[in-house]
């Protein structure tokens, strides 16, 4: 009996030694292969040291308000490029904010990276210490309106709102080419949009129409009995299925659907297009802080912005990088809210919007 036991023990010992040697050999060769900075298309994303430390962390948790379908593809590319696994939770800005505050209060904030279309939220996160600054390598090239001056957050995408339509129901000559044309009674019950309470996109769009055309525009638009949704995806789906024929909508999402074969078209109205800055920053409690920095470097690099633009059909912080199908010329007509107005007018105007559209948040 004891002889059999000894035999088993010896065999086990030999097997364990061989396995350990193999594991070290493989790990060593992998490390050798990938040491050095990460360089893509001639652009250095992180330094060799940051890259090495980030790889040791190996993973990253991101909470983002950007539409999940697109963000998933962007983060997948990040993983392909860096080998770092990114776990993504996508929720609308408002729901995400409550989650972050609760987890933060319990000292259990799981996210290393946060992104919000709602800049007021990002500002409040800076104020209460949830975000921590990180200066990305291309900091100086990024225009001021697309970054926090101290590097607490950056615009990972510039989201543009325009008018979209279902080609099966709306023919060329019939198109409402301006914001005011949406008020034509023939579109009654056929227009859809997100509510003004839907993150940065809803509020920026409402602010744009109010500042450009006055309260009267809201009243006339409300009289059209629009389909109101609490997310871009819902508006797009209603448009694709023909429930509505025209939508005030995120053009990146519309363009993706049309590329996939949906009978959708879109355009930039002559009076301008409200634009929303999707800001991204890292948390002060990030347990994968190196991977978080690497992600910020990656997404704000020219390469990262090209990836984002390609997958999302968005505009970016770099004037020469725009998504496919998006005219560079339209950039001049993009309208950005002033951050001060954005925060100051919010409460009063949202209340007015709710009363005008008979919508209780």
């Amino acid at each position: 009996m004891s002889r059999i036991l000894r035999l088993w023990a010896t065999t086990g010992l030999i097997a364990a030694t061989v396995l350990t040697a193999l594991v070290f050999a493989v790990a060593g060769s992998a490390g050798q292969q990938q040491s050095g900075p990460l360089v893509i298309g001639g652009e250095q994303i992180p330094s060799a040291q940051l890259y090495e430390l980030a790889k040791r962390e190996g993973e990253l948790v991101a909470y983002m308000s950007y539409p999940n379908a697109i963000m998933r593809e962007v983060t997948k590319q990040f993983t392909t490029d860096t080998g770092i696994k990114l776990s993504l939770t996508s929720l609308p800005s408002d729901q995400l904010s409550e989650r972050v505050l609760t987890e933060w209060g319990a000292k259990q904030l799981k996210a290393d990276v946060l992104s919000f279309s709602e800049r007021a939220t990002m500002q409040s996160f800076v104020a209460n210490g949830i975000l921590t600054p990180w200066i990305v390598p291309r900091f100086k090239e990024i225009p001021d309106k697309f970054k926090n001056p101290k590097g607490y957050y950056y615009a990972q995408a510039v989201i543009v709102v325009g008018i979209s339509f279902n080609k099966a129901f709306v023919k060329g000559g019939d198109l409402p080419r301006t914001w005011k044309a949406l008020l034509d009674p023939k579109w009654q019950g056929k227009v859809g949009m997100t509510t003004a309470y839907t993150g940065g996109l809803g509020w920026t769009t409402a602010m744009f129409t109010r500042q450009k055309f006055g309260l009267d525009y809201w009243k006339k638009l409300a009289a059209q009995k629009p389909f109101l949704a609490s997310g871009v995806g819902q508006v797009t789906d209603a448009l694709v299925r023909g429930q509505i024929h025209i939508a005030i909508n995120h053009l990146g999402t519309v363009r993706r659907q049309s590329v996939a074969g949906a009978p959708l078209g879109f355009y930039f109205p002559r009076e301008g297009s409200p634009s929303v800055i999707e800001s991204v920053g890292m948390t002060s409690t990030a347990s994968h802080s190196r991977a978080a920095r690497l992600f910020l470097n990656w997404v704000m690099s020219r390469y990262g912005q090209r990836v984002f633009a390609k997958l999302s059909s968005e505009y970016t912080v770099y004037p020469d990088i725009v998504g496919p199908g998006m005219p560079k010329s339209a950039r001049a007509a993009l309208w950005y809210p002033k951050l001060k107005d954005y925060i100051k007018l919010r409460k009063q105007w949202l209340d007015e919007w709710g009363r005008t559209f008979n919508y209780t948040p």
């Binding site: 539409p67 933060w104 209060g105 319990a106 799981k110 309470y197 023909g242």
Partner: protein, 575 residues
Amino acid sequence: MSTSSVAPRSIELAGYRVQRYLFSGLIFAVLCFLIVYPIGMLVYASVSDVPPRPGEPLGNVTTSNFARVFARGNLHAIANSMVIGITGTTLALVIGSALAWLTARTDMPARWLGHVAAITPLFLGSFVGALAWSFLASSRVGYLNVFLSGIDAPLDLDINSLVGIAFVMGIYHAPFAYLFLLSALTLVNPELEEAAKAHGATSWQVARRITFPLVRPALLGAATLTLVMIVENFAVADVLGTPAGIRTMPVAIWRLMAEFPSHPNEASAFGVVLLLFLAALLFAQARLLRGRDYATVTGKGFRPRQLQLGKWRWLAFSFVLLYLFLAVLLPLWALAMRSLSRFGLFLGPGSFFEIRSMTLANFSDTFAREDFIDALRNTLLVASFVAVFGGALHYVIAHVVYRTQLPGRRTMEYITMAPLAIPGIVIGLGYLWAWIRLPWTLFGSLWIFVLAYSARLAPFGFRSMSATIGQVHPELEESARVCGAGRVRTVGRITVPLLRPGVVSMMLLLFIMSFHELSISLFLYTPTTKVVTVEMYRQWGDGNTAGVAVMSLVVSAILLFVALVGRRWISFKER
């Protein structure tokens, strides 16, 4: 030394007493942790001026949260809940009682089909039902409307309306009314009916004047329970009501939490209002039923008489088929259509039959998504654990309440039944705030779901177990005890084998209800602990209706499979 013969006995008695109190205390501790503590957090939030997030300072006591509940235009939500609640309950009762009566007391052809029709919608669930009906009957583009416009019918169904929501609530809550009424109808003593018949009453008179009054208490019970379930239902109201701006109480509470900036204190106050309303309803029902004489409704050996329907037999059968069609077949067809179509755009009736334009891409896309696979695995794990551990807990409580003399067992019953009056969307908040503070990492693990679901489903598990325990006479257990078996051994060798079919069906119930849980999960999930309903809800919010249709089909298939396997297992053991 003179007390030596007395002392051991008194020590033994004292030890027994201590043991009893310890066991009782243990159960109370579990119930307090699972139910009382989260409700306490919620009540605290409703009267505080500071959100109860961890890390926030203690707030001041205020009643302004309640004042704002009634000042914010939420009266609409309260009114909508009432309209949907009453209309939906009426419909559910009509369908449920008709099915129960036809199945239990008439000679309708293929009565087994009545039972199948009444039970199957449970496996689909109201969330999936609402999703399917939004494909079927959205204004203009709903599949039924496409058919109607194809034949130039001047009719446009609109499921995104109060009537539409009440309709969906009604058809998917009818199974609960059915289950509640079925046993009552089966147990009505036929002697009374026969006596009436002997005195010249017609069949209809017997049904109206004898049978109906006898089952009235059960009907009232079913009505209250269904009303409570419909009023607190979040998923149907949100899926169908939100696109049309129709808001019910649970949806209003969710929006208070979900929109920016959130109003946690106001949401809690609204939650407490809803809780009090539902508790009042249940209390009123208990008061109404108290003192009723149930003597005629007994389970003694008789076979209930069957009413001869005559020429109405086939009409009754058509009613069953119609219900099966509306609650199961049509919704499944709609889900299949949406999942096979790339964009869900159907321009005419003919487009539903164009095989060439159908695609399996939505299936491959959905199955390629790790989020869905992870969520499905998580849900399977959580539902199984709830069925086993939650089921065990519910069994222990039911056993203690009905089979022991332990101190405080009535209070245990009240606490266990309390979640019935607490809407999921409300208690979800309570769980989040109560459990996220704990020193060990509960939040972010699947265990938080197991605990939350076990607490939430406690009334169902407990009721189901009490009914089963009630059917087994204590004499059998007492005989085992007399023959020298210990308490644990008696439970293991006598009670559990006798209760096996009941225990299995309770576990199935818990498994299915865990699979359908959405409102609590919305507050408790993290990136690595999503469950399938949350994934479906998020994809719905993202407008990925094709993915939602695929996921709905998968979930329905799993639950139907479990039900089939479970049913066979029970009948096999019974043989």
